[in-house]
């Protein structure tokens, strides 16, 4: 069914068609519409789930962890401060190997209070063992919830589906909401093999000494390695049923390009328009959109960027004292690679929701084209000093 929906409601519909069984959440701007819509769905009997209205985000995720541990499909959603408050349980969910899906509306961290978009909230969860997906439109938001469960339940790691505050969360777009029956064909009921079970009692998360802790962590990394193949496989499967294609990355007009713009989330959609106008001016440029951040798409990044002259990475985030986070990861991906590596330029743009306009993107491209190589790891875009 085609419907015009906000990004937040695309999340709610994704949860509905995925037949989620327990929801626990706490309101925060700009996530609130997700849970408001879900509480209506549950109240109307449209969604057969138990919705626990918890007293904090820390509890929202702790509740989802409890439900997931007995074999229920669990969901929660948050943003920014809420995600930061959850952080202890973010580690717990992945360490306990529970396939929870969490929608995070990317919002800047305080102080000062700012409800607009940037990625420092979710990227602060980089090293927690969660898969992370950055969406560029509302359709992808809905689809990523469904695929999130499909992948998570195979690799037993949780998934964070990220959408930009307001640019997606509060923007209406045409979205195809698939029939639940069709989704059932893709996403079977959640069957957790190792779970809390009175007929086979075990303790979960008990004391783990230096003698065995490391092996548990090894297995988390092994699951992440496996996740890359499964995301690709399930993307293809998804395309067969729903006709929409998703992988680790998306390429746009990269063929024959000498310069590649690298962006994520909604900046990538804006960048597509910029690519078209730059191409029209005869500049050989294409776009690489990183969709999945964890597991990091090293293979795709190297495949697309090797033998290119320049890569221009736009980061709506910053690791203070280092650089843009995607920039850093991409640079790292090339270190042990032989061959003709691109010069990699890292731009920080759009923090705290500042608009990243097509003009701003063209300015970054102009700047990178003028230089042989970047002089430093951070080039600020549009900062007023």
């Amino acid at each position: 069914m085609e419907k015009v929906v906000l990004g937040n409601h695309a999340v709610s519909y994704g949860v509905l068609v995925s037949r989620v069984q327990t929801i626990s959440a706490y309101p925060i701007t700009p996530q609130t519409l997700i849970v408001e819509r879900l509480s209506e769905m549950v109240a109307d009997g449209e969604l057969d789930a138990i919705f626990t209205k918890v007293e904090s985000e820390h509890s929202a995720l702790a509740s989802a962890i409890g439900s997931s541990s007995v074999g229920a499909r669990a969901f929660t959603a948050t943003s920014s401060q809420g995600l930061a408050l959850m952080h202890e349980m973010i580690h717990w969910a992945s360490g306990a190997r529970l396939p929870i899906v969490l929608a995070n509306v990317n919002r800047a961290m305080a102080p000062g209070w700012n409800i607009w978009t940037d990625q420092n909230d979710s990227l602060s969860c980089r090293d927690t063992g969660w898969m992370q997906i950055y969406c560029q439109n509302n359709q992808e938001v809905l689809d990523s919830i469904i695929m999130g469960y499909k992948v998570s339940e195979q690799v037993l790691l949780p998934t964070m589906v990220c959408l930009d505050a307001f640019v997606l969360s509060h923007t209406a777009e045409n979205v195809d909401i698939p029939e639940v029956k069709l989704v059932d064909k893709y996403l079977p009921p959640y069957k957790l093999e190792i779970k809390m079970d009175i007929d086979d009692p075990h303790s979960f998360g008990a004391l783990s000494s230096p003698e065995n802790y490391m092996e548990f962590r090894y297995k988390m990394q092994e699951a992440m390695d496996k996740a890359e193949d499964i995301i690709i496989k399930e993307g293809k499967e998804f395309e067969k049923i729903f006709g929409r294609k998703y992988g680790m990355v998306e390429e746009y007009r990269t063929e024959g390009a000498e310069i590649i713009l690298v962006a994520t989330a909604t900046i990538a959609s804006t960048a597509k328009a910029s690519i078209d106008s730059l191409r029209a001016k005869g500049i050989n440029i294409g776009l690489l959109r990183l969709r999945v951040f964890r597991p990091f798409p090293v293979k795709d990044v190297v495949r697309v960027l090797l033998n290119k002259k320049k890569a221009i990475v736009i980061d709506r985030n910053i690791s203070y004292g280092k650089s843009g986070i995607f920039f850093d990861e991409i640079k790292g991906a090339f270190y042990n690679i032989e061959g003709d590596k691109p010069k990699i330029f890292g731009y920080i743009a759009g923090l705290g929701g500042r608009d990243v306009t097509p003009e701003a993107i063209s300015d970054m491209v102009d700047d990178a084209m003028r230089k042989d190589k970047p002089e430093k790891d951070i080039i600020w875009s549009g900062v007023k000093l």
Binding site: I50, T52, S63, G66, S67, G71, H202, F204, G205, A206
Partner: protein
């Protein structure tokens, strides 16, 4: 007398669900509490522990002393982890499984109070049991808000002992008007078991606050655990009572004569530095609190 006959008169179920192979110290009151709880609740039970002595007592992976499914959770999340397990089970139609949060006083009175208040206010269908050893024992005997006035801990040294009274936690929970709240003691197993049974048969949020002496942290001989727990009740330092629906108070132990607090305090190294005037202060406080508790009992008789 025939053995079976004697046993049939006892109210304590015979089956041992907790195994003796655990890591508790000698004379640990918290292990006695668990043993009774499991006897009542049986195997159709799921447990969650936050960080506390019991996360160690139960043993290292892959061992467990409790013989029922157990989910270890973060320090401040016992109540909500139990609620989450409950809603997961309900969503799967497994409504007949008991879900119990089992936590220490620190994880309850202090860092966990927010999540407990949330679960109590929603009246989530779980039982929360706090075993009270009156300090953070897992981390090596630091004060909690359950530590009594005057007690030594590693963060309230003898020249600066705890200067505030123990928090009245049951009162806080009762203020949520939950179906059932009670205090209990490992020295009175029949009473404790009756309360566990009542909680088992009550829908909604239940909390039992069980007094569980800790020889290691209280600096007392391990063979005195039960005696000291009994003295706590007999001196009225730890009265055992129930609260129904947050308003209806009932005393479960109300003898004609009470034991002076000195007898309780003198057995424990954590009170060794106290002087005669401190004993009197504690005694006065006990009288005052007892009066207050009796007023509550009277109000809603």
């Amino acid at each position: 007398m025939v053995r079976g006959e004697t046993m049939s008169k006892l109210t304590i179920p015979q089956e041992e669900i907790m195994s003796s192979g655990h890591l508790g110290c000698q004379g640990c009151g918290a292990t006695i509490a668990m043993r009774y709880m499991l006897k009542v609740f049986g195997r159709k039970t799921m447990l969650t522990f936050p960080a506390c002595c019991w996360s160690v007592i139960d043993g290292p992976w892959p061992y467990s002393a409790v013989s029922v499914p157990l989910f270890h959770t973060a320090f401040e999340t016992a109540a909500i982890a139990a609620s989450g397990i409950r809603s997961g089970l309900d969503a799967l139609g497994k409504k007949d499984i008991n879900v119990i949060a089992w936590a220490g006083d620190g994880g309850t009175f202090d860092i966990g109070i927010q999540a407990i208040s949330g679960a109590a206010e929603r009246n989530d269908n779980i039982l929360y049991i706090v075993y009270d050893n009156e300090a953070y024992m897992n981390t090596g005997i630091q004060r909690s808000s359950a530590t009594p006035w005057g007690a030594w801990t590693t963060t309230t040294p003898v020249n600066n002992p705890k200067s505030r009274p123990k928090k009245d936690f049951v009162e806080i929970i009762a203020a949520h008007r939950v179906p059932y709240t009670a205090t209990a003691s490992i020295a009175y197993p029949e009473d404790f078991i009756k309360k566990l049974e009542k909680a088992k048969n009550t829908e909604g949020f239940k909390l039992i606050h069980v007094f569980a002496p800790c020889p290691t942290g209280w600096k007392m001989p391990p063979d005195l655990t039960v005696k000291i727990a009994r003295l706590a009740v007999q001196t009225r330092i730890f009265p055992v009572y129930e609260v129904e629906n947050g308003v209806s108070y009932k005393l479960n132990f109300n003898p004609k004569k009470f034991v002076p607090v000195d007898e309780y305090l003198k057995l424990q190294g954590r009170f060794r530095h106290l002087k005669e005037k401190d004993y009197r202060f504690i005694q006065e406080n006990v009288e005052y609190e007892w009066k207050f508790l009796n007023r509550k009992v009277e109000t809603f008789k």
